[in-house]
Amino acid sequence: MGEVETDQLEVLWVGEASNAYDLSQLAKETQKTDRQSALTILDSRSVAVVVVSVASSDEASEIGEFLTTVSNLWPNITRLVFVGNSLPVDHAQQLIQSLVNSVGVHFLFREGKSMNHLVDIIERAVDGFNTRKEQNRIHQEVKLQNARLEEMTDGLELMVAERTRYLSLSKSQVEGKISGMRGLIQFIKNLSSLSEIEDLYLLLRQDIKSFHQVQNVYLGYLSSDQIPRIMYFQSREVRVRSAQKMWDQSLRIRVNQVEDSQYLANEFSRPFAKVIGIPILIKTNGAVESIEPRCESVIYFEHTFQSEDEEIFLNYIGERLQPLGLTFDRIQLDRQVKTASLMWEKTFDGVKDPIAILDRDHQLMRNNQSFGWESDSSICFKKFNNLDHPCVGCPVPSVFESSKAQVGNVKKGSRMFEVHSYPIQLVSGSRPSNVVNYYVDVTLKQELQGKMIQNEKMAAIGHLAGNIAHELNNPLTGIRSLCQVLISEVEAGSNRYDDLCEVEKAAGRCQGIITNLLDFSKETGAKHLESISLNEIVTKTLPFLKVAMRNHNCRVELSKQEPFVRAEPQLLQQVVFNIVNNACQSMRDPGTLTVETDIFEKEGKQFSRLKVSDTGVGISKENLKSIFDPFFTTKSVGQGTGLGLSMSKNIIESVDGAILVNSEVGEGTCFFVELPFRIGGST
């Protein structure tokens, strides 16, 4: 390769030329030379055709050699052989044959052919050279391109190999990272379910198990009473001891610092080698800026890492620091909240009065122990009172309506509660979301109030009655007296006589009723026990019940022997009145009321007894146990206070007596009042 481009020489005539031919006509440029110089010329210039002229057969082998050289050195050059006439034909023939065979001559011509013919051949020879040259060039070009392609392909292959290597490296790195992440996520998950510091310690130990060079883990923390403690593992169990001194308050991670080893050595009375100290809970008292942040928890790793492994371990732990710190914080807070919560609960339950917090639907958010356990329900009226509807008198609805505190009276069994209901806002909004109910047992208070009211009423009535009685007494006295006068003046046995007697008797009866009324309505003042017969009580009281008795039949059987008792006559009258009145009210017309008195003996003692039976609707078994309860009534509101029987029971029991009752629904009821038989002597 590397032909130096000089001017193109078309023809180089090597050897003798015949005079018959004008060489300058052969081509654009023709040069004649001998074999010796030819090679030099060929070397320096670009030649298209070489014509070798053969003059004698002696030259044959040299020519052959020359042509071979040319063919080897400049394969593109067209090789032409010119045979002169001086050569005998058969020699020429032989020569030609051998040349053609061995060297590869392109053209051959003999002297004698015309110039045109020669020119023509030369032209073709030149063309041939050009063609070959072109072909060669193309060939070279192709070779070059191929070489370049190969280079590129090699380059690409290298790149691909590199990329593949890189990818597989990345993949394993990524996988490594992923498994690392997974480990971290699992660690965090496990942390979130912990509630004790010991569990956190154990989890950490477990997590770094694969780092065999970690000998032991020491967890320093502040306990709830602000005392620094160190948790460690020994003899297959977790232990805690109080730290003598607080640990290094530095907020950095310290690797192999002598101070840390010394600190632990002091605490555990043994030498410590390399220690990594990592603070995990830093408390800055946010409100007070001047106070230094405190390291409230630290972890020490006693280890035998070499530096590269140390790096790996630190990275590993580094990822876990924040979750550890957060978990620690959370555990502490949980504990605080629990303590506070416990204190509140104890306070709440310690209050002896029932307290409950409800929402609009009477759902219980919370209640204290004193609230009661009528049922397991979470509905207020069900749990407090075992009802399926809100308690009568419940103030809760009006609290929600008015957004103001309200008070209501609610009955639970035999007790009366004053319910103070306060609106509160547990959920943000413009109206109260909940109420707090505070229940005050006012049974006693209400009973006393009731009694007081009753007494006042009685006193007022008594007063009124007294006044009326006195007003009536005067004319009645006169009526009766005048009647007596008239009777004395009229003939006995006559109609007038009999009429006047009736009038007088009637007037007398009126006086009796009035006297009774006056007795009954007298103010009691101090307890004034008297020895009084039940019979007398009955006789004095029954007239008052004429209206109540309506169409009922009334049978009175009083004991022959006076059943004496020691009691306050008015109060006894109240009791009898109450029982008989109830009996009358329980009967639909017409019923039978029976009032009996007797004396009986029990356990060696004597008792005076009053029995009142009716043929009324009776009392159901459920109600039987409640009838003496204050405020218990089957009458509608306003018809009765529900205090009658309760007061009667109190009155009788206060003089060592008892009230008993039998009843059958649909058949009737029977009340027994039993009092110790006492005769004579009043206070």
Binding site: G478, L482, V485
Partner: protein, 119 residues
Amino acid sequence: MKVLVVDDEDVVRRSLVRVCGRRDHAVFEASNGEEALEVWKEIQPDLVYLDVLMPGLSGPEVLKEVGERVHTKVVLMSAYAGEYDDMTVKSLGADLFIQKPFEDIFSVVEKGESLCDEL
């Protein structure tokens, strides 16, 4: 015997007057305290039936007005028993207390007359 009946209740007064009248007494009556004083001064009765509770002057007030007296016997009448026993009655200037209502008008008059019998 001169008897004075003082009571604001007509029926009561009438019945007393009738009975006393039958016994041959000179019977006088007054329906209130002031009237009673007037009649008392005028006739100087031997026996007075005196109601306690009257409009205007009450029975005891009348007695106070009358003041010292020598021979007149006074029977106080009232529905209110508890307040009057022998002591208080005497201190008021009366001789006997009879409770209303009267069970028997005749016994009332007899009681009054027996006071005078003691003379």
